[in-house]
Assembly symmetry: C2
Homo-oligomer: 301 residues x 2
């Protein structure tokens, strides 16, 4: 094809035909009649065919003009609908929201929020992929990823949802057997490492200004946090786990927090999205909802 024809002029032409007058077309379009006259003239020059026969008092369609006008209406209607659809998406969450989240936080927190989200926004469907693998956001077409812990790469943008405390926990039987007055005492405990962390064996305990860093040798390693939790229950050792995961069990006495007056570094829960110019409303709406703890399951503070 040679030179593309200016599609915008179609709107001018259509307006003239619809209103039957250059002047009224100009009013409708909110421009001077000069512009309408010129644009239509250029459209005619582009296609090399006269579309309108003008007298000083009225305008009549050419045969060619009549043919174009019919198609013109179809084109403009299609375009209008297309843009209206997009505007809707910018006004109200809709479409499909693809989320990936890690096992623990995904199952415990994200899934319930997703349920509430789909209830609130019926036009929005959600695909939740729960995995501890760090999938490629763009390649897999995710709108959103929830990352627990620390952000490593990040050419992507992130928003912090929450921070969580991490607790060293063991099952009651194990906790009874081994006394632990300070961090160093833990070195002799069997340790369950969570491989989904950057450095699973390195932990820094704090108590006020006091700080103690130790490298623990794992008795076992797993790459999924729930598996680590299960291992703790089975008495395989102690592990460092997010508070939101174990709070309920501690309250019920099924797990024992170790060194309660020492604290471990807090982790961050982040919403990570690929860098696009405009964030889809559905993403913002969901992240807003996820950030509001009132939407979280009740057993979490």
């Amino acid at each position: 094809m040679a030179e593309p024809i200016n599609l915008n002029r179609l709107a001018y032409f259509a307006a003239v035909v619809d209103t039957g007058s250059f002047t009224r077309a100009a009013e409708r379009l909110g421009v001077t009649k000069t512009v309408v006259s010129q644009q239509v003239a250029r459209l005619e020059a582009d296609v090399g065919v006269s579309l309108l026969t003008r007298t000083t008092r009225s305008v009549q369609l050419t045969e060619a003009g009549r043919g174009l006008h019919a198609r013109c209406l179809a084109i403009l209607k299609e375009a209008d609908e297309a843009f209206a659809e997009l505007s809707d998406a910018a006004l109200e969450p809709r479409g499909t929201l693809r989320i990936t989240a890690p096992n623990d936080f995904g199952s415990f927190i994200v899934a319930p929020v997703v349920a509430a989200f789909t209830r609130r926004h019926p036009k929005c469907r959600v695909e939740l992929v729960i995995t501890d693998a760090k999938l490629d956001l763009i390649g897999q077409q995710f709108d959103l990823a929830i990352r627990v812990g620390w952000l490593d790469d990040s050419s992507a943008l992130a928003r912090r949802i929450d921070t969580f405390r991490q607790l060293a926990v063991a099952n009651p039987a194990l906790a009874e057997r081994h006394p632990a007055a300070g961090p160093d005492d833990l070195l002799v405990w069997p340790f369950i490492a969570n491989l989904s962390l950057k450095d699973p064996g390195l932990w820094t305990f704090r108590r006020g200004a006091e700080e103690r860093t130790l490298r623990v040798q794992p008795a076992m390693s797993v790459n999924a946090t729930p598996a680590a939790l299960a291992a703790v229950h089975a008495g395989g050792g102690f592990a460092v786990l997010p508070e939101f995961l174990v709070a309920e069990e501690i309250a019920a006495g099924r797990l024992i927090p170790l060194l309660p007056d020492w604290s471990l570094p807090s982790g961050g829960i982040h919403a990570v999205y690929p860098a696009t110019r405009f964030r889809p409303l559905k993403v913002k709406a969901f992240v807003d909802m996820l950030s509001d703890k009132r939407n979280w399951p009740t057993h979490c503070p």
Copy 2:
């Protein structure tokens, strides 16, 4: 509606999606990749939605982008077809050609040419309205009018097809009764006026440098040339008629030309078309054909 969205940008967007790359889209469109990048960015700004997720190495469609792309293709295809249709019309005569012509010339000359024209251009239909009334070209949507005689108004454009001599004729009986040595002798003849002329009673005869203008009082008036011819045949008087109308009858001896060494002013046969920017090809083709006398019926010189 607020501000119209730039439809031209759709082509850029579609090209990126189709080729899967800004660079290749730029090549296809014959512009710099800068332009493609900017135009797509502005389209996104217009609709307030991201359509593409860009990495430095690749481009991926957003959900919203996917929706727009589908419609985009439909819009661009429709536009392409519409313009192609118009271009065809500019390349080959097609559609309907509405012509009006006066009774005499229309029936004798135009109609046969129309027949040949439709045979040569099968995609072109012709509506021939034969009447001596001077119809409104624009209001009645005529592409072309054939006017015989002299052009009076003409905000319209005209092209001369031919000139024709006019002859004063009578039937043999009348011509025998009245001798006519010079123009002034005709003043005593009964005269049949043709009201379709501007000034039906005013005639100027010429013989070399000699000139004689006379105002003839009509014995009868009609507004149609064939009717005048019939009246002449019936011996109602003499009349001034176009040569193409009476040549055959004179040759057959059924009509007698008066004052054969004097000449009357020649009339013009004109093709008149409404003033449009671009003349449809069908009009040009027809006028060309009508101007070429080889297409005329054989009994005319």
